[in-house]
């Protein structure tokens, strides 16, 4: 009795002193709390908006708007420059001999002459003895030995032995078009010159450079997905043997999938990839992908209850558990609560894409990727070990995971773009939760992927 009296007094003293004791947290605690409550969402949405903006910009830049340089490279039909892009002049001395030896007739025509005109300045650079004089705002003249004398082409051959030779290239009124050689001002000095110029007119064909195949392509895709999960755990509601000492509520027999009321829900996937074409039909693929996955949980409101989660022990001897207070029940309560398990993931898909069949326009392909994944944010409810309650325990949610994805698609090429559409499936290889949580959850996503691919030039 006396001891009890002293004991109570001792306990009172301890409690009093403990309650009197004060400590003041450092700023980082509030920062951490505040960041968790607000900034993470802001950061996530900001990041997501930034990703979307970046992808949209790239999309518009690559797919819709052509830069000025490309406009020059792809002018309007009929512009002679368009046929000469990337052309090179065959050295005159080499080809003139060849063409003469081949016995090919040497002819001239003013129409064909115009075809040559786009790169006349290039041609003349290769002509020995030619001197070029170009002034920006006047006609461009090529002088051959003598001063300029304008003369109709019809009388050229007659006068060729006597008259000085002139090649004049009139600058086009359109500055974007190369100057055109006008035969009316052409004069020749000798037979050799005639041959040279006729060669220029007829046989200075351009040896078009065979462009190397563009191996790198850029792909942008979007896929609305239907998300669900596969749950595995103990076959009935009894907690695992290594957790049997946990004080839990009355167990409920049955398969876990039948004891919970979960429904699939709509999510989406957004991705940007680079493809390296190894062959015509085979490509390596890598990129950045964002996934929003979720599924619905039907729960019930209740009074405050303790939700105990039995943890798997590492050495099999101890059986730790985590207890949280919750007001969510899996079974009967006084009001229905619709919860959602949500996951915001970013991943780096690495894989291959194979064209199975088709022609240049229409193709059937398959693709598969392995995706190291990081969980940006989550809103998850875990079921207690007795399957009676739901509670949140972020520390049991896995941050890093690996997903795998497979898809098949039909693609159609048009106007430099490849559009593709087809079904895909994505499966999470590791559980959404850490190894400590005895129930395993594997996310599954089914969707229809729509993509557009552009060759990078």
């Amino acid at each position: 009795m006396e001891r009890d009296f002293y004991t109570d007094e001792f306990e009172d003293l301890i409690k009093l002193k403990a309650d009197q004791f004060r400590m003041y947290p450092s700023d980082k605690v509030w920062k951490g709390v505040n960041r968790s409550l607000h900034s993470s969402k802001r950061k996530y949405w900001f990041g997501f908006a930034l990703l979307l903006t970046g992808l949209s910009y790239l999309g518009i830049d690559q797919l819709i708007v052509s830069p000025p340089a490309k406009q020059i490279a792809n002018p309007k039909p009929g512009n002679p420059v368009s046929e000469n892009k990337g052309a090179k002049v065959i050295p005159f001395d080499q080809l003139i001999t060849g063409s003469l030896n081949s016995g090919h007739p040497i002819q001239s025509s003013s129409e064909k002459q115009q075809d040559l005109s786009p790169s006349a300045d290039e041609i003349t650079k290769n002509l020995p003895g030619f001197e070029q004089s170009i002034t920006p705002d006047s006609d461009v003249s090529i002088l051959i030995d003598k001063p300029i004398l304008g003369m109709p082409y019809a009388s050229k051959q007659e006068a060729s032995a006597k008259q000085p030779n002139i090649v004049s290239i009139e600058k086009s009124s359109n500055p974007s078009i190369y100057p055109i050689i006008t035969t009316s001002q052409l004069d020749l000095q000798g037979e050799e010159d005639i041959q040279k110029l006729n060669w220029l007119q007829e046989f200075a064909v351009y040896d078009l450079i065979t462009t190397k195949p563009k191996r790198l392509t850029w792909q942008l895709s979007f896929a609305p997905t239907m998300n669900y999960r596969r749950l595995t755990g103990s076959k009935n509601a009894h907690i695992q043997s290594n957790s049997r000492n946990i004080p839990i509520a009355l167990s409920i027999e049955g398969d876990l999938d039948r004891l919970v009321n979960h429904k699939p829900a709509l999510g989406f996937e957004l991705g940007s990839y680079l493809l390296y074409n190894v062959t015509h039909n085979f490509s390596f693929k890598a990129g950045l992908q964002f996934n929003y996955s979720r599924y619905e949980i039907q729960a019930y409101s209740s009074g405050t209850e303790r939700a105990t989660i039995a943890l798997n022990s590492i050495n099999g001897l101890n059986s730790p558990s985590i207890s949280n207070l919750t007001q969510l029940r899996n079974f009967g309560g006084y009001a229905v609560q619709n919860l959602q398990n949500q996951y915001f993931q970013v991943s780096v898909p690495l894989g291959i894409e194979v064209t199975v069949l088709g022609n240049n326009k229409l193709q059937l392909g398959v693709s598969g990727t392995l995706q190291p994944t990081y969980l940006l944010n989550r809103n998850t409810y875990l079921i207690s070990s007795d399957y009676k309650n739901y509670t949140r325990e972020p520390s049991l949610v896995r941050r890093w995971n690996i997903n795998t994805s497979a898809e098949t698609f039909v693609s159609y090429k048009t106007a430099g773009l490849k559009w593709q559409v087809g079904p895909q499936i994505r499966y999470q290889l590791l559980s959404s939760y850490t190894d400590k949580y005895p129930i395993k959850e594997y996310l599954i996503e089914y969707g229809v992927k729509i993509g557009v691919t552009k060759t990078i030039r």
């Binding site: 007094e9 400590m23 605690v29 059986s319």
Partner: protein, 193 residues
């Protein structure tokens, strides 16, 4: 700002109200965490985790009891979960073997009054300390402690008895308290109570 206003603001996810709640309770709750924690850093981690739970579960608070008590329960549970996740706690819980632990006198800090008592509690082995904190200071029953720590109720009782004995010894040796020589009771503390 009244408690009702803070509560309502937190329910509306208003940063101002959340800050008010933090300023009002963080000091007291950090003291709670510190008694369970290994060091101040751990205590701040526990506090942060606990307050995040408080804010995220505030809609579940029903005005049946004191708001502070509700917060304190969440923080204490967070501390316990934090300790359980620590491998050292699970493997050497010392709930059974702690009687062999020797108290090193030099490790008792010479700080007076409340801090001195709290520091003496903190040098107890972690299992003793936890039971003593939960029973003597937080007011949980041995049955509740048994559930929280996954131990038998009888174990909780015996651990508490040993913890209290050890704490008494430390406090007496540090001359923070005096053992009763007569029936006038315990604890004549040099610096006063």
């Amino acid at each position: 700002m009244t408690e009702e206003a803070i509560l309502q603001g937190c329910l509306n996810n208003e940063p101002g109200a959340q800050r008010e709640l933090y300023q009002k309770y963080s000091s007291k709750m950090l003291s709670v965490c510190y008694r369970f924690a290994h060091n101040r850093e751990d205590a701040e981690d526990m506090l942060q985790e606990g307050l995040i739970k408080v804010f995220s579960q505030i809609h579940t608070f029903q005005n049946k009891g004191a708001f502070e008590g509700w917060i304190r329960r969440i923080v204490v549970h967070t501390c316990i979960n934090h300790l359980k996740k620590n491998k050292r706690f699970n493997e050497s819980v010392d709930l059974i073997h702690a009687t062999s632990v020797q108290i090193r006198e030099e490790s008792v800090p010479s700080i007076v009054q409340a801090k001195q008592v709290v520091e003496c509690i903190r040098i107890l082995p972690i299992g003793y300390r936890t039971v003593l904190n939960l029973y003597a200071i937080e007011g949980y029953s041995h049955k509740e402690i048994a559930e929280m720590l996954d131990i038998e109720e009888s174990t909780s009782r015996s651990q508490y008895t040993r913890a209290k004995q050890m704490l008494e010894d430390i406090l007496v040796r540090k001359k923070i308290i005096q053992k009763p020589s007569d029936r006038s009771g315990w604890f004549r503390i040099a610096a006063g109570r």
